[in-house]
């Protein structure tokens, strides 16, 4: 049996329910998207009391299986107006398992002027305490205060000042293994949804005593070892170990899809100044607290994360990932890793998504508010966000709103969510993925780039995107880290064997994929019921009209092709 803890945020009451269905067994996005579909009225206001927020760990959470402790956070997104699943690493999933929880829901909402509240969940039950002492503080300070009060090992979930102010690019920050809330479910504005319930933090105490029940210990141990071996031997996942996701800078530059100058180019002169090798060398050279390898959760055999130090070797930001390096780096023509790490740190502190804010700053630079390549101005714009100035609030509302306010036509978004770090005109597979995702532009939804023989051609890309929509969604579907997918993309057997060894439940690859596809259908249905028209699944017209100089390409994906990519 699996438990969901339902918290009524209006009166602080909570109840535990037990379930035994496959959706609860798999957890992750399988569960979060079903709960949203079933329980949240599709046409509700995202920041109103009818929306709910769900936190779900996955099928292998709390065990010895590498990279199996991500949590999926689901709700209706204020940024896209549709369904949202955003996931994060860290230790929260483990703490939920130790407290016997598969899911937590935050339901209802108190009066708008109610005081900030924290729900503290431990083995003795749920306690509601005042969260006023956290109000207005940055996420780093909040992390320290939460650690002081509940210990560094508690699993904490919090929001930054941007979330408190109900801004649409506000994310939800989760504790890393050091007690710092730096692992973000950044996308879709779910931080604002949490704030709309006047919940400033959730704390999962480190007093849980529930051990994973495992039906077949020997088979489970062997299966767990097999996953580690596969991850270590896989030439792709093992690359993450040395360079992390930063390796994509060189690859995207070579393929001419590195977002540059507010997505008007796909190549940045001097990109090597912010590439993986430079980052690796800088971290090694500075030493101190810097780490080229780091795990966001335990255990993780890949350890793609890093700790980027300042000039004195003190932690500046952890992690700094490719998506941020592109959206807050090349997209703004910035060639300085220290600037990118500083902006990333401010974003983490303000509690905003680095992609959506990077895209919004690109739009602001195009509007003439600052020069592309101006390091100080870019950092200053992030400070405006942290300080919640009028401009900062506009930027933290995402690039669609920023473009409307600032009069910019070339706004890189789909459904209001900023386009991630692969220029869609140079990769038609990624264009199809961005257009057809129920989450708005999302690269993890169906990552085609590495499998596109001719990235600039749209031939076969609907099918390719759909293939990777399933492969990519499999990991989210059961709370695994996305980077495990390289090792199981052709054979999910090792993970399904682990599920069988743990629960005694036999799930064939076909049955599992059917659950994944069913999730996609439910997500699309929710959006349709929410009133999102097919015509919203488009880029701004400029992507169809203006050629990307380096490839000579425009987006040529038709509405019909987008619909095909959404049809299951």
């Amino acid at each position: 049996m699996f438990s969901i803890l339902r918290i009524n945020t209006a009166n602080g009451d909570s109840i535990r329910e037990s379930h035994s269905s496959t959706e609860y067994l798999l957890g992750g996005r399988t569960l979060s998207s079903r709960l949203v579909s079933r329980e949240v009225p599709a046409d509700c206001e995202p920041l109103g009391k009818k929306n709910s927020l769900y936190f779900c760990n996955g099928a292998l959470s709390g065990t010895t299986v590498s990279s199996s402790d991500r949590i999926s956070i689901g709700g209706k997104s204020p940024l896209t107006g549709g369904i949202k699943e955003s996931n994060a690493g860290g230790v929260v999933g483990t703490r939920m398992s130790q407290l016997g929880l598969r899911a937590i829901s935050l339901e209802g909402a108190p009066a708008r002027d109610a005081e900030w509240q924290i729900f503290v969940i431990g083995k003795e039950g749920v306690e509601r305490i005042s969260g006023e002492f956290l109000a207005g503080k940055g996420v780093y300070e909040k992390s320290e205060l939460l650690s002081e009060k509940f210990g560094k090992k508690a699993g904490c979930i919090t929001i930054g000042p941007a979330g408190e102010s109900l801004l649409y690019s506000a994310g939800i920050a989760c504790s890393d293994p050091h007690g710092v809330c730096s692992r973000y479910a950044g996308r879709g504005g779910l931080g604002a949804v949490m704030a709309s319930k006047r919940v400033i933090a959730l704390v999962l105490k480190d007093d849980g005593e529930v051990k994973p029940e495992i039906q077949d210990q020997d088979k489970f141990k062997a299966g767990s070892r097999k996953i580690v071996k596969m991850l270590k031997e896989n030439p792709v996942s093992s690359k993450f170990t040395k360079y992390g996701t930063a390796a994509m800078v060189d690859i995207c530059q070579a393929l001419k899809v590195l977002p540059t100058r507010n997505f008007t180019h796909g190549v940045m002169e001097g990109a090597e100044k912010i590439n993986a090798q430079t980052m690796y060398d800088t971290i090694k050279e500075r030493g101190g607290e810097g780490l080229t390898q780091h795990a966001c959760m335990h255990p993780c055999a890949i350890q793609c994360s890093n700790v980027y130090p300042d000039k004195d070797g003190k932690l500046l930001c952890s992690p700094v990932e490719y998506e941020t390096m592109a959206l807050m780096g090349s997209n703004l023509c910035l060639k300085n890793l220290d600037t990118i790490a500083t902006m990333n740190r401010i974003a983490n502190d303000a509690g905003v998504d680095t992609l959506d804010c990077g895209a919004a700053i690109g739009v602001a630079m195009e509007a003439g508010l600052a020069e592309f390549g101006d390091n100080d101005a870019a950092i200053q714009m992030m400070e405006e966000i942290r300080n919640l100035t009028p401009l900062g609030r506009i930027l933290a509302s995402g690039c669609k709103i920023a473009a409307q306010v600032l009069g910019v036509l070339h706004a890189p978004h789909v459904l209001g969510q900023g386009v991630p770090a692969y220029e869609p005109r140079g990769s038609k597979g990624m264009a199809v993925t961005y257009l057809s995702s129920p989450m708005g532009a999302d690269h993890t939804f169906g990552f085609t780039l590495r499998d596109e023989e001719v990235p600039t051609s749209k031939e076969g890309k609907v099918d390719l995107s759909k293939k990777f929509q399933v492969i990519g969604s499999r990991m989210d579907a059961m709370g695994m880290c996305n980077f495990v997918r390289y090792s199981v993309r052709d054979d999910m057997g090792p993970l399904l064997d682990l599920i069988e060894a743990r629960y005694g439940a036999v799930l064939s690859e076909e049955e599992f994929d059917n659950m994944v596809i069913e999730t996609l259908k439910l997500e699309h249905q929710f959006n349709s019921d929410a009133g999102i028209p097919a015509s919203a699944h488009r880029f701004t017209e400029t992507f169809y009209d203006e050629r990307q100089p380096e490839t000579g390409e425009v987006v040529d994906i038709t509405d019909e092709e987008t619909l095909q990519a959404m049809k299951w």
Partner: protein, 72 residues
């Protein structure tokens, strides 16, 4: 002579002799065995264009080969 540049690996630059055009797959096999590395999925780029495993490679071509990593 074809130059294969294995980017983001210790292998670095490897040269492969060529008498007549051969598919990229053949060139990569030779270059990888010379460098003593195992190739997983790769993205290959010649003169700024992505090329496929059956693309004919000519003498004097320079090919950048990246491990096919993707973002997360």
């Amino acid at each position: 002579m074809v130059t294969v540049n294995f980017r983001l690996t210790e292998a670095g630059e490897v040269n492969v002799e060529l008498n007549e055009p051969q598919p990229l797959a053949t060139i990569l096999d030779k270059a990888a065995s010379r460098a003593g590395i195992e190739l997983g999925g790769v993205i290959a780029v010649r003169s700024g264009q992505a090329i496929t495993l059956d693309t004919p490679i000519n003498d004097d071509d320079i090919i950048d080969v990246f491990p096919a990593i993707s973002g997360g």
